[in-house]
């Protein structure tokens, strides 16, 4: 789990703490917001609303319950639901909206986590996973292209998966 070293109860009640939290987590939050909302303008809106809500409720943050990152993601998740609801309901159009399902949001969160973890992998590991798993290419072909033995490609797949697991754990993913 990623924790801010100085996190204490009420950690976001001061502006300086908001700035620190923004510097530490805005990239991830924005990345997830773009991934789930599919719109950079709405994603900016979502991240802004997340930090403002976090600041308003700063006194309620308790690092004993969870990390600041987890807390911010929980707020963002609610904001994204609100934005998704607003977008699908389009208040004022009077057509009667459909309550957005939570499933697609969880799916987007899962997808974003894997994509972010893949971005954090070393190039060698990411490349063999992309070529052999996502592009479905034979190991021998990839090995020839990379100029390494086929066994090396297989071992990179193994160590790549292990590294991915570590990165996901660092990001707070729990299976």
């Amino acid at each position: 789990m990623i924790q801010l070293g100085t996190s204490t109860r009420g950690a976001l009640s001061r502006e300086r703490d908001v700035r620190e939290a923004y510097a530490a987590h805005s990239g991830e939050l924005y990345g997830f917001a773009v991934r789930s909302l599919g719109d950079s303008g709405l994603a900016e809106e979502a991240v802004q609303e997340t930090f403002v809500r976090a600041w308003r409720a700063g006194d309620r943050f308790d690092p004993k319950i969870g990390s600041l990152r987890t807390w911010l993601f929980a707020i963002l998740r609610n904001v994204v639901i609100d934005l998704g609801r607003a977008r699908s309901v389009r208040p004022g159009v009077a057509e009667g909206g459909i309550e957005p399902s939570v499933e697609p949001l969880d799916e987007a969160l899962l997808a974003w986590q894997v994509e972010e973890a893949m971005r954090r992998l070393g190039e060698d590991h990411r490349r063999v996973l992309v070529e052999t798993y996502y592009r479905g290419r034979p190991y021998a072909e990839v090995a020839e292209e990379l100029g390494v033995p086929e066994g090396t490609v297989k071992s990179r797949v193994y160590y790549g998966l292990r590294a991915l697991r570590v990165v996901l754990e660092e990001m707070g993913y729990e299976d």
Binding site: V18, G27, Q48, F51, D82, P91, E95, Y158
Partner: protein, 235 residues
């Protein structure tokens, strides 16, 4: 008795096996090894959840890491600063009006805010009229332009105490931007102060959803006599 090297050789095939890409003799050999090796079996079990997650990702996004625009941090800081200013003003009003010193400090702070964030004068605030409301319900709103977007002062009266009110600003293409939520409490005559990143010049309507109804009031060049729509709550 397995040696460390023997385990290592098989272990490096676990990734391909977890992804279902091991075939023939290699696969048969690894499976035989796994039957007698608890450590390698445990390692495989540890890789399985990661392998199951892979199909959810889109590899086209691996290279792209969207970054928030540089001004977003400043907008958030300005929004929070604005809320703090308003909270201070409310406290001053609560504790006996404006002493000269307090008023002077507020004026200096306002000038500083205008200087730093390029805000507009309070005169630019814009009242919004909600008309044709059900009997007993009153809704008023005032919009104020800011560098970060629009500040909305909402006053709702006449709905059941505890009603959750959701507010949106509607933009030029009919897209609604959430401005926040508040609860109406019986006996509380204060206004709710909300904010949105949508610029006031692009705001075409204010939308308030009280759960039972959705009320829409036009903003800007709309005629004074514009009719407020009363819409049933979406189900």
């Amino acid at each position: 008795m397995k040696t460390r090297n023997e385990c290592r050789e098989w272990r490096e095939l676990l990734g391909a096996h977890a992804l279902g890409r091991l075939e023939g003799d290699e696969r048969a050999g690894l499976e035989a090894h796994l039957e007698g090796c608890a450590d390698c079996s445990e390692e495989l079990a540890g890789l399985a959840p990661v392998a199951k997650m892979l199909p959810h990702a889109d590899p086209a996004r691996f290279e792209l890491a969207p970054e928030p625009p540089p001004e977003l941090g400043r907008r958030i800081a300005a929004t929070i600063e604005g809320e703090k200013q308003r909270a201070r003003q409310r406290r001053r009003r609560t504790f006996g009006g404006f002493a000269f010193g307090g008023a002077a400090a507020a004026a200096v702070a306002a000038v500083l805010l205008l200087f730093v964030f390029g805000g507009s004068s309070p005169d630019a605030s814009q009242p919004v009229e909600f008309t044709n409301l059900p009997e007993g319900i009153n809704i008023y709103a005032t919009l104020e332009p800011h560098a970060y977007g629009t500040e909305i002062h909402m006053y709702v009266h006449g709905v059941p105490s505890g009603t959750l009110c959701r507010v949106w600003l509607r933009g030029p293409r009919g897209v609604s931007y959430p401005a926040g939520t508040f609860r109406y409490r019986w006996g509380d005559d204060s206004d709710a102060v909300l904010s949105s990143a949508l610029d006031i010049s692009r705001t075409r309507a204010v939308v308030v959803d009280t759960g039972k109804h959705t009320f829409v009031a036009p903003v800007g060049k709309a005629p004074v006599a514009a009719v407020t729509q009363t819409e049933e709550e979406p189900t």
